[in-house]
Amino acid sequence: MTLTPARLKELEEVAENAIRLRRQGHPDPLERRFDVAPAVALMIRGRVSAAPNLRHEGRRVSGLFMPGGAFPQIWFEAYEPPRRQRFTVAHELGHSYLDPARQPQCDPSQVDVDPDSSHGGQDVRESDADAFAAAFLIPADLLRADVKQFGRCAAFLADLYDVSEPTMRRRLRVLEPFV
């Protein structure tokens, strides 16, 4: 689902709050390739773990956020590629910010989806969490500075931020008027 500019702006602000919190607990606030699992575990004051063949209610899922009251947990699929895992953890963190009481089970087809190619098949909560994840992993302020310094090259920038190239392309597109 394609998000409206107003909704994207709201999600950007939520992600900026999350980035501020992450930077408080991180020794290098400008680190672009931070280790997402321990950083997010600190942020949710819970646990972030990999599990092989992750399932929920008999269905394969890429990630799982379990609010669980005092001890929230995020699970991600152990057999997915590392960059995909990184995005999934940030996506689940998005759920914890955007819909903290609900327990989402993220179908692999619903995570890290190009809103323009999903033909409306992506749940709005999932597209919100995707936009949050991209904004959290690729902070707008850093990306703007990097595009100025290195030029616009999605493959190079994706490597710089340890995200997939399609994720970086989408992020550049969202920030296009500003970068």
């Binding site: 394969r60 997915e80 310094q149 290195f150 030029g151 090259c153 999605a154 493959a155 190079f156 994706a158």
Partner: protein, 390 residues
């Protein structure tokens, strides 16, 4: 029981392209491309991983060799590495892939030679079942699979079973790669096996809808089609008794780095080179396989920008692939551009102004161009006069 799964080694691949040349350390006086050596090192690293894991079995899911008639040095290398592992007591099973089967069966199969080694089991032409470590290892070679030979659900009859094959799992385009291979119906039989070891797709990946079917991926960048910036190659460790029965084991492989400019519209030669140099300073190209892609160059800038300029920035790379592409210019766009810019002379002066050159050179170009434009205008004027007279 510990098993290492590897695939798609492609020993003997010529690794064409811009690559550092060096002497093969194991063959004094023989000059080879860096990427050829990387392919060999990848296989040696897979063997190291098996020895380190104290694996009892190594399974190779096809394309150990890049062709059906591998060079003698590749055959020799494969045999010496396999012997290094089998001397620890481990067994090895190798299946034929789509690269390594002889189109003419009369030529014989390179894998036949490997089968002379102790504890080495090979499958080519027809499916084979090897009884090893208390389980049945079902090996489906390329030639059999391409004829449609494939296990039926429930065919194994219970017990511990392992399936090895080379092909495109469930016909998914994703796993096809750049060379055709038969489709194999993995998900309908995966539950009959402890593990399904696949080859053909050069990255480590799990087959969707299965819990136990994996591509191990290649052990080095075989072609530029395998390039993925920041990516790694590895093998899979299978340990059914472990909490995580399938684990990726990264092997030391060459770093892959991507550089470039997605849209170089409006940038001159110097600006493009400055951006590339800045990128190289951030992520050093030293000893890396580097892909540099600059898109949307103004045609004039493209003519000025040489591949050598770019090579110079990335001279420390092990191998590079450079693509410098000018923006597509259609005649209508050129005409529109000329009209937008006003008179042809003005447009020419503007283009000369964008040249990345010193003032005297620009002046020479301007003078020369002006004289050509003047001549052209005169000729057009004469033609117009002739036309009018007619």
């Amino acid at each position: 029981m510990r098993i290492i799964h590897t695939a798609d080694t492609h020993l003997g691949n010529a690794a064409f392209g811009l690559s550092r040349l060096l002497e093969d350390p194991s063959r004094p006086g023989i000059i080879v491309r860096q990427r050829q050596l990387d392919i060999q090192k990848g296989f040696a690293a897979a063997i190291d991983a098996a020895i380190k894991a104290r694996a009892e079995l190594l399974i190779h899911s096809g394309d150990l060799f890049d062709s059906s008639r591998p060079p003698a040095f590749a055959l020799n290398f494969a045999m010496s590495e396999i012997r290094r592992l089998t001397s620890t007591g481990a067994s090895v099973v190798v299946v034929e892939g789509n690269h390594s089967y002889p189109r003419d069966p009369a030529l014989g199969h390179a894998l036949q030679i490997l089968a002379h080694l102790e504890r080495v089991y090979v499958a080519y032409d027809e499916p084979r079942v090897f009884e090893l470590l208390g389980m049945k290892v079902h090996a489906y070679p390329h030639r059999a699979v391409s004829r449609g030979v494939w296990p039926k659900p429930g065919q194994t009859g219970g017990g511990l079973n392992l399936l090895i094959a080379h092909g495109v799992a469930d016909g998914q385009l994703f796993f096809r790669g750049d060379r055709p291979a038969p489709e194999i119906r993995v998900s309908e039989v995966a539950n009959d096996f402890l593990y399904v070891a696949l080859g053909h797709y050069h990255r480590l990946a799990q087959v969707p809808q299965t819990g136990n079917a994996f591509y191990a991926g290649a052990t080095a960048m075989v072609t530029w089609g395998d390039f993925h910036a920041g990516g790694r190659f590895g093998v899979i460790l299978i340990d059914p008794a472990s909490d995580e029965p399938v684990t990726r084991v990264d092997i030391p492989t060459r770093t892959m780095r991507a550089y470039g400019v997605d849209d170089a519209t409006g940038l001159n030669r110097r600006e493009v080179l400055t951006l590339l140099a800045e990128q190289e300073r951030q992520f050093g190209a030293v000893d890396a396989n580097c892909r540099i892609a600059v898109e949307g160059l103004d045609p004039l800038v493209r003519r000025e920008l040489s591949v050598r300029d770019v090579e110079e920035i990335f001279r420390a790379a092990a191998a590079i692939q450079i693509s410098l592409r000018a923006r597509e210019q259609r005649w209508e766009a050129v005409q529109a551009g000329l009209t937008e810019a006003g008179q042809l002379g003005d447009r020419f002066a503007e283009l000369v102004g964008q040249l990345d050159a010193d003032a005297s050179f620009k002046n020479d170009v301007q003078v020369l161009g002006d004289s050509f434009l003047e001549q052209a205008a005169e000729q057009l004027s004469d033609l117009d006069a002739e036309e009018a007279a007619r």
